[in-house]
Assembly symmetry: C4
Homo-oligomer: 309 residues x 4
């Protein structure tokens, strides 16, 4: 059968454009398949962003490296001045003097300042004053970065790997599940699902918003199954699994919620390609009451499906 398109509303493309592309427009993790070139070589305004979003191992390694390099730099300056300006006995070997210089530098940068080595005379004193100031400022910076890393909004919404086309009421529904992996309470959650289909006539992508059974929930205590009922006026009405594959269908999911532990609006995105839509299965329930009357939600069962008999 021929693909039928709802007349695309101008807003339905979400900002992704209608050019047909060989790749999905959104990756599973919500990032875009876009590469930016022609940026200025030095982008100081990106520094904070990178320091905040890089992984913890890289971040800690960078901190340690910065500490070592600064230490070594000042140590070599101290060596240049001469360790005799640092209340050390003269006549030592270079290795010993270098060690003294390095650890004096470390004790100055961290402001621990034991004092068994201490500067004497103007150049030694001035340089170590500078280093301790630098130490304080670097530390202030590290404090800010650590706080910034911790406090930035992080949704930990997990989406089911597959979306389903499964029986829903008297017909079919397109559906997927989502859970909140964090302990933060999410409230006022809202979701938007848009399907993008390739129009073979024009080789462009057409977008259609999928009306949902419910697009917002006030409370999000456990899991949420988002359902688009495939009624007669649905952009998916009459389409088969093969139709979706042929049209390189992509279901783009935008979710938004308010995290009331940190008073922040958080966003999550994902997408399902036609290959990731399973037909003839339904989700197995994730939650059941326990003897105490508590609702027990099994987060590990997010992806559990069973064939529809």
């Amino acid at each position: 059968m021929a693909l039928r398109f709802r007349r695309t509303q101008v807003n339905d493309d979400l900002g992704l454009g209608i050019k047909a592309s060989a790749r999905r427009s959104l990756n599973k993790d919500g990032s875009f398949n876009v590469r930016r070139v022609g940026l200025p070589r030095f982008r100081g305004y990106e520094l904070y962003h990178h320091l905040i979003t890089m992984g913890w191992p890289s971040f800690l390694a960078l901190l340690f490296l910065g500490f070592m390099v600064t230490n070594a730099l000042f140590a070599s300056l101290y060596l240049g001045i001469g360790m005799e300006h640092f209340t050390r006995p003269g006549g030592m070997a270079l290795a010993e003097r270098a060690m003294d210089a390095f650890f004096f530098s470390a004790q100055t940068l961290t402001t621990v300042g034991y004092g068994h080595i201490s500067p004497n005379g103007f150049p030694a004193s001035a340089l170590s004053a500078l280093e301790s100031l630098l130490g304080l400022l670097s530390f202030a910076l590290a404090t800010g970065l650590l706080y910034g890393r911790f406090s930035r909004p992080q949704a930990c919404l997990r989406f089911s790997c597959q979306a389903l086309v499964a029986p829903y009421r008297e017909g079919l529904g397109f559906m997927f599940r989502t859970v909140n992996m964090r302990s933060n309470q999410l409230i006022e959650a809202a979701v938007n699902v848009t399907v993008s289909l390739l129009d073979p006539a024009t080789n462009t992508r057409r977008y259609a918003a999928l009306p949902l059974e419910r697009a917002t929930i006030h409370l999000f205590p456990s899991s949420w199954t988002v359902v688009h009922p495939i009624y007669a006026d649905s952009p998916l009405a009459g389409l088969t699994e093969a139709d979706l594959l042929q049209a390189k269908a992509e279901f783009i999911v935008l979710m938004k919620a308010f995290d009331d532990t940190f008073s922040q609006t958080i966003y999550a995105r994902t997408s399902y390609t036609a290959e990731e839509v399973l037909w003839g299965h339904r989700f197995r329930p994730m939650s059941a009451p326990d003897p105490d009357g508590l609702t027990v939600v099994d987060m590990a069962a997010l992806d559990a499906v069973e064939p529809v008999s």
Copy 2:
């Protein structure tokens, strides 16, 4: 008489689901009766959340414990190297050396570095440089955590223990009171009240939003009595106290306000079960003018009720 249900709008269940449960769906403090299992064993992304939301005694105990353990760890490493590398006279007893090592470690971790004990030679110097760096970073972390704990949004809205069904205008009203216990000014407060009733025919819960006399206020100077007038089209119209008890009625209250001291939206939740709804009483006024013309609000009278004659 038979329970009558308004045709439940799809959105009225708030996200709680329609499964009948032996327990209330929201506890008095707004938490859900949900237990999550199947979570990954290690959840690094929860660490900040726990450190921010745990009680102050636990938090301070954890800080102190971390300090002691780190100190002890480095102290044993210093002992392994030998205290003769720390400008101490040799030939001391183990207990004395251990004490020296522990307090040198403490002086290094806090960067106080008196210097009467100080490292000599590479291993001792390197280890203490590392410890002072660690000290600085831990301290940076503690700074961030303390600020995070203080600055996170905390509503201190208190709700009356009981809701009332009391005379209101020409009929009855379902009502409860709320006060802001903090000095923060709350503005643009909004409230949503939903009743959940057990449908014995299907053993499911049905939800109905309760239209309020006023659902938002611009200013929240003292107390707010939230009223649902039980008009003829109310989901509660015609129900008796026994009906509510039999239907295991639960009134779910969601409140939202803007705290203009900290520019944060805050949320509060609570619920009233049928057992917590008092009939035939009304609230005693909480506020009265004093001789100066100031309005005096007695916060302790939040729960004060009196029988309706």
Copy 3:
């Protein structure tokens, strides 16, 4: 003439209640004339709020006091242990020992740790380790508080001292002016003006929102004259200056804007009593072009009015 009231919409009282009071409901600075009693004696949750909102002199005095008291406390503990455990020569006078103890304590709390006085033996060492830890945590706290004080949203909107009833188009208008005293750019500003009038029949206050010539502006480059045109359907239509005085009229102003320097919504409130409404005057312009074509705004002319001839 008799006062005429528009049928008060339920929402128009803003949350202030309809009880007639001897005082204005909002002070000029936007605070409420409400006193809260019956609060729990100890309110830990208010501590941060007070530390953030108190004046700078009080805050700095408190910091200094805390430093002195902690120092003195530890100093007396050190004296109790005996200064001979602190590498000091024995046989000194009490005053001298007290001074040593106090300054050793200060050097430990600030982690400066010169080391000419340093602890020896378990009790002295343990206590000073504790003090340096406490010093670090207090300092972490002070860092958080300083940042919290600086970064909290602070509108610096100034309102004209008097509101005017002045010629506007073909009739009269109720108007006042506001300026942004800070360099922060304010955008998306919105204002709400409500009049409260005493109803002598019931001795209650009635509220009516005043429709404004424009209630929102996208950009707020300099000053904004907020105008309520007194058309025939205005709650003020036909009222004289004497009517307003007799009805103890109070004009309540709520303003809201987005500060795009700090990405915060800020709020400001004020009120004008009938005594603060000037009739028969108009505002003198605050801004004029300079020779360069720049618009020069004279902030000092906010209150400048001139009689209407």
Copy 4:
């Protein structure tokens, strides 16, 4: 031909006022051509704002200057007390004593406290205790300022230098392009374009909002071409390039987006004068698919235009 104006809606002037001015109302960078005078001489409430928004070189220079001045101040006080109260041998030259005083001060302010110079006696000890406290507080302040500088919202939206009037569908469109120079994901972007035209009859400016092909996008993966189609009812319909120049047309652009890396709403503003509107050209595409199917966006091509044949 005569200029035609749409009946200006009250809200269309954005808050800029209708006075005709010799300059554009918004500069390219979004700032206003307004100078404020009559401000109070001392504005403590502006301090944080300036410290947060000044350039990095100025900020770092100010920090260094503050450090040097404080050091010098305390050094002169120490000299006044006499360096013999600082465990230094007597009989030194002034220069040497000044150097000692200065570096002791530096070691105290940074809390490095080596201890080869240390205070003795009340005045020396008290002053250095004060200095170390001041050092800690300044450092706390610097930490807060550094974090505040880093975390404040900074849109890095770049707009094309020129706007175009170019063929669009069957007619013409007014259009410009914008790109996000940062790695932060922007979502829910919204734009508002208003044209301001000089009315020669009254010598005032009239404003008209320009309806856009799309005023909001959900996702902003690369570049966005904002288009106002010049239909028959457009305020620009029938106008020529000369008309716009004569009417001193200014197109004011307000943009808003949500940065989901930092959970902040960001704003950007710019304007195009008639001189900055290019006729008879169109934008060259900025993006093209690469062999891998990724969309490659050339940020450097933001301003690339080509004549319309």
